[in-house]
């Protein structure tokens, strides 16, 4: 049996918590701090998984189901996402629509879990989450359709595997626009600066973090791990589109892993050099991402 398709899934399971660590290290480097250890997310997960739980009396089973549904959905998403040129466990035409649907399911349950607490802070976070994601979704799909048209393929694995240096030489602008659009999508979907601030403790400025305000113990561990996986998957998508295939499977995997940490570096750099945008400005950025992707599509029409 061919082991190659299992590699992206297993690597995502094992290595995804490294990605937030690498972003934090980059930020620490910029700020001249020592910063938390690279493995901090693993420590957090380990600590949380050993704890008990505290629940609000207002909550119901919906609150408890949220993190589990979210993690299960993103785990299936991990089976759909290739790593660089290494094909995914499941690959079929239009698989990224299922990917988007699964992440939508994850969001749906996180949002209703937040609303279940009856807290206005979490309600506010939930409201902003659905607000931004509704604007991000078109950008993501249009960008992927553009890549599909450019490569003439229909599934994520084929798209990522098919992008060659020839594409970059001949259609550089198209791919560059797509990459910028997808980077904005990555930042917005994973609650990074300039859309959301993962560090702030002022609940009023947060989106993703505030929705998890009442979760603790294993539930919070599921949320943290799910978020790390989601970041990993979006980074893998970006890397897959940027990296041309070399032909050697193992070399491809190594290159892709390197690429993942370059994404971490880029995100960390963005977080270090700019501030969070005002909430009213964010939609312009997100709609802008969609416009970039649509422009790329028009350029890709021959």
């Amino acid at each position: 049996m061919n082991a190659i398709p299992f590699i992206p899934f297993l690597l995502a399971l094992v290595m995804s918590p490294l990605l937030p660590g690498s972003i934090n290290r980059t930020k620490a480097l910029f700020a001249g701090r020592r910063g938390p250890p690279l493995l901090q997310t693993y420590f957090d997960l380990w600590k949380l998984l050993r704890k008990g739980a505290v629940y609000s009396r207002a909550t119901t089973w919906v609150f408890r189901a949220g993190p589990m549904v979210g993690l299960a959905a993103v785990l299936v998403g991990a089976m759909l996402m290739p790593l660089g040129n290494c094909p995914a466990l499941l690959g079929f035409p239009a698989d990224f629509f299922l990917f988007a649907g699964l992440l939508g399911l994850m969001r749906f349950f996180m949002v209703i879990a937040a609303l279940d607490t009856g807290s206005s802070f979490e309600g506010m976070g939930a409201s902003r989450e659905v607000y931004y994601s509704a604007l991000v979704e078109p950008a993501l799909l249009v960008a992927l359709v553009t890549v599909a048209r450019q490569t003439g393929t229909l599934s994520l694995s084929a798209m990522c595997g098919r992008v060659s240096d020839g594409h970059w030489l001949n259609f550089g602008p198209v791919l560059a626009l797509v990459v910028v659009a997808l980077l904005i999508v990555l930042l917005a979907e994973n609650a990074r600066i300039p859309v959301d601030d993962p560090n702030t403790h002022l609940e009023l400025t947060m989106i993703h973090e505030v929705m998890a305000l009442d979760h603790g113990g294993p539930d919070l561990a599921f949320i943290l791990y799910g978020a790390a996986l989601k970041l990993w998957l979006y980074s893998a998508l970006l890397v897959g589109i940027v990296l041309p295939a070399t032909g050697a499977a193992w070399l491809d995997v190594l290159l892709a892993l390197g690429g993942m940490f370059v994404v971490g570096l880029v995100v960390g750099t963005i977080e270090s050099v700019m501030a969070r945008l005002r909430l009213a400005i964010v939609p312009q950025l997100l709609v802008g991402a969609g416009a970039l992707a649509a422009t790329a599509f028009v350029l890709a029409l021959k």
């Binding site: 629940y55 207002a58 119901t60 785990l75 699964l102 807290s119 802070f121 649509a294």
Partner: protein, 707 residues
């Protein structure tokens, strides 16, 4: 056919019998309106006496004594609909599975008319959800209307319910234009009386009139459509129309536009949807479910049937339909987002879903005109599957909204909250419907949207720019609609069912009875089943697609098999998801076993005196999106800010009236009314003169005939 005739007869019998027991049992000198006894109770219990809302508790004990006939009538009516549905399903299932087309012709002494009905796969595909939802809504209605026993005579409700089901079935079965229009009118009139069921409420009466006017304007376009077709082919028979077709391109285009307006009014395409957000909330909830779930689909059926008469479509038909679909989809979901009335919100979602169906049909038409069978099969397949799916989840959601309305007495979302604790079954089924309508895996809404998306995606990737660009717009629009629908249903479910009990409306809430719960559970199960058995269900679309596209069997079969090869993978993904979820549930249970699990208050950042009124409301939840799309929605706000050193009261009121009603129809109708007021001198209330008008008109017509 015998089964079918028995089914139709059962409906007629039901319609008649519900009238007579009501009459017979009401005769013996009882008070005709026993609600006078019940009314003070409603007032005392402090409910804002919304007429559709008298809590079940008091009406049960007070009124069932007063009028025993109510319950018999309900079970008679519901029973006959259920029997008819079971009988009718037999031939419908046979036809969907690809059996021979059964037909029946009886003479009918109406000029140009013939009682000609047939059950082909297309009819059966629409008839199955119609019968299923009719039966389930009827069972639900028998429970739901108990709150009205004695306050209204229930006989007429069930009469019109049976007639509505009969009308819908006949519309789908008719193969003669006169019979079709007769059934179309029967359906419209029956549903008008159901919408105005609560005729003491002025809003319901107005909703009824808007519906009546809108549906007849639509029918006027249909009349022209049928007459033009009849003149072209010299027959009123659908079979002849499908065979001969329309040769002239110009005429076909005009017919297409007439069909879009005529059938689109019933289906609820933006901007012909104005009656929908008025009529659906006004009707009793089980009727709303039926109207929103299946009655508006007769418009889609008519449109698809019309495609089979009009020959090969030019490209602009597909573009137009995609444009209409995008308008309806995006504006429908945005308008829904701005509503804080649960049933109005659901009604706007019907506009959105009709938009999604139109997108599918548009892709199918593009496929037909470019000769791409993949596009044809995926577009029509997705659109038609969405017809069935929407019937299931929208029916489910309206029934859930009805259960909430009945026990709390309000459809104002911002007054509700925390109902999951009181009505766990209703909440779970409503959640299933909410996930399904948001187009999320693993439920049925995702499957149909996946097919439509797949069609657009393949066209966008493989075809030339003239097709690819509209299809890209479709993909972006579908993604936006999906995101906004998720926003809207997290709002609806979250604010109504989650959090703390918000106001006095919900304190006394309790779970709906079994007659109401069972249909909701069955519909939820159907949503899940279609999601998990997607390849099987889509495989059964084969005869329907042949019927619609007119392509040869082999071509459709191969194309359907090739283009839906992804579906088993999608289902595999869904099953893996469910298994993983189960694993995580067990894992979490294992982890928490033996550890401290504490219950406390929600963390409010240090604030120690939380109150249920501090929860996020539906209006605040939707505010960012509503503000972003302000130019399209024109929400009216009136704010009373708390001011002074010791602020006491503050208030915020928002209302989002329908934009096409405000900006298009109101000015238009006012202009027409002003213009026509010049003819007011003709109206003076003198009946003799009116008779004279009629006589003169007849004579003029006679003279014109023999000129």
């Amino acid at each position: 056919m015998t089964w079918l005739l028995f089914a139709l007869a059962a409906l007629l019998a039901g319609a008649l019998t519900v009238l007579f027991p009501a009459w017979i049992l009401r005769r013996p000198g009882r008070a005709r309106w026993p609600q006078r006894a019940g009314a003070p109770v409603a007032a005392r219990s402090g409910h804002r006496a919304l007429p559709d809302s008298l809590p079940a508790i008091q009406s049960d004990c007070e009124i069932s004594k007063a009028e025993p006939s109510g319950r018999y009538v309900s079970w008679l009516g519901a029973g006959s609909v259920v029997i008819a549905a079971v009988l009718g399903c037999v031939p419908a299932v046979r036809a969907v599975l690809g059996g021979p087309v059964e037909s029946l012709r009886l003479p009918w002494p109406v000029p140009f008319g013939e009682f000609s009905i047939a059950m082909d796969p297309l009819t059966a595909w629409f008839l199955l959800p119609t019968l299923l939802l009719s039966a389930l809504s009827a069972i639900y209605g028998a429970g739901y209307l108990r709150a009205w026993q004695g306050r209204r005579p229930l006989g007429p409700v069930w009469l019109f319910y049976c007639l509505l089901v009969l009308g819908m079935s006949l519309v789908l079965l008719a193969r003669n234009a006169v019979l079709f229009l007769f059934a179309w009118e029967l359906m419209a009139v029956a549903s008008f009386f159901l919408v105005t069921f609560d005729h003491e409420d002025e809003a319901a009466r107005e909703a009824g009139w808007i519906y009546f006017v809108a549906t007849h304007l639509g029918t006027a376009f249909l009349l022209v459509f049928f007459l033009l077709l009849a003149r072209e082919t010299g027959s009123m028979d659908f079979g002849v129309w499908a065979e001969k077709g329309v040769a002239a391109h110009g005429l076909a285009g005009i017919l297409f536009l007439l069909a879009i307006i005529g059938f689109g009014t019933k289906a609820g395409f933006m901007p012909f949807h104005v009656w929908l957000p008025e009529a659906h909330p006004a009707a009793p909830s089980h009727v709303s479910a039926l109207m929103s779930g299946v009655m508006i689909k007769t418009g889609i059926y008519g449109l698809v049937r019309a495609f089979t008469f009009l020959g090969t479509p030019p490209l602009w038909w597909g573009w137009l339909l995609i444009g209409m679909g995008l308008t309806s989809g995006v504006l429908g979901v945005l308008s829904a987002l701005a509503q804080h009335d649960l049933k109005r919100l659901l009604a706007y979602h019907s506009v959105e879903n009709i938009g999604i169906i139109a997108l599918g049909l548009g892709v199918g038409l593009l496929g037909l005109s470019t000769g791409s069978t993949t596009l044809t099969v995926l577009g029509f397949g997705g659109g038609l599957l969405h017809v069935a799916n929407h019937a299931l989840f929208k029916g489910l959601l309206f029934l859930g909204a009805g259960a909430v309305l009945q026990t709390t007495g309000t459809h104002e979302i911002d007054h509700l909250g925390g109902l999951l604790k009181r009505m766990p079954w209703t909440a779970v089924t409503f959640l299933v419907g909410a996930v399904a309508i948001s187009g999320l895996p693993p439920l049925n809404g995702f499957v149909s949207e996946f097919l439509i998306f797949m069609g657009a995606f393949q066209g966008g990737v493989l075809l030339n720019a003239a097709i690819a660009v509209p299809l890209l717009a479709l993909i972006a629009g579908l993604a936006l609609i999906g995101g906004l629908a998720a926003a809207c249903f997290t709002k609806a479910f979250g604010v109504v069912f989650l959090g703390e009990l918000r106001s006095r409306h919900v304190f006394g809430a309790r779970e709906a009875g079994w007659a109401m719960r069972l249909p909701m559970l069955l519909l939820a199960a159907a949503c899940a089943l279609i999601g998990l058995l997607a390849p099987l269900v889509v495989g059964n679309l084969l005869p329907v697609l042949e019927n619609v596209t007119g392509l040869p069997h082999e071509v459709v079969r191969e194309s359907l098999a090739a283009s839906t090869a992804s579906l088993p993978w999608v289902v595999l993904g869904s099953i893996v998801f469910l298994l993983l979820l189960l694993t995580l549930v067990l894992l979490r249970r294992g982890l928490l076993a033996g550890r401290p699990v504490v219950e406390t208050v929600t963390w409010r950042c240090g604030y120690a005196r939380p109150s249920a009124r501090m929860q996020y409301t539906a209006s605040s939840f939707a505010q960012p999106l509503v503000d972003l799309f302000r130019p399209l929605l024109r929400t009216r706000k009136s704010v009373q800010k708390p001011d002074g050193c010791f602020p006491r009261a503050g208030a915020l009121k928002t209302a989002t009236p329908d934009i096409s009603r405000e900006e298009l129809y109101r000015p238009g109708f006012q202009y027409i009314a002003a213009w026509l007021s010049r003819l007011r001198w003709l109206q003076h209330g003198n009946v003799q003169l009116y008779v004279l008008y009629i006589a003169v008109t007849l004579m003029v017509l006679l003279a014109w005939k023999f000129r």
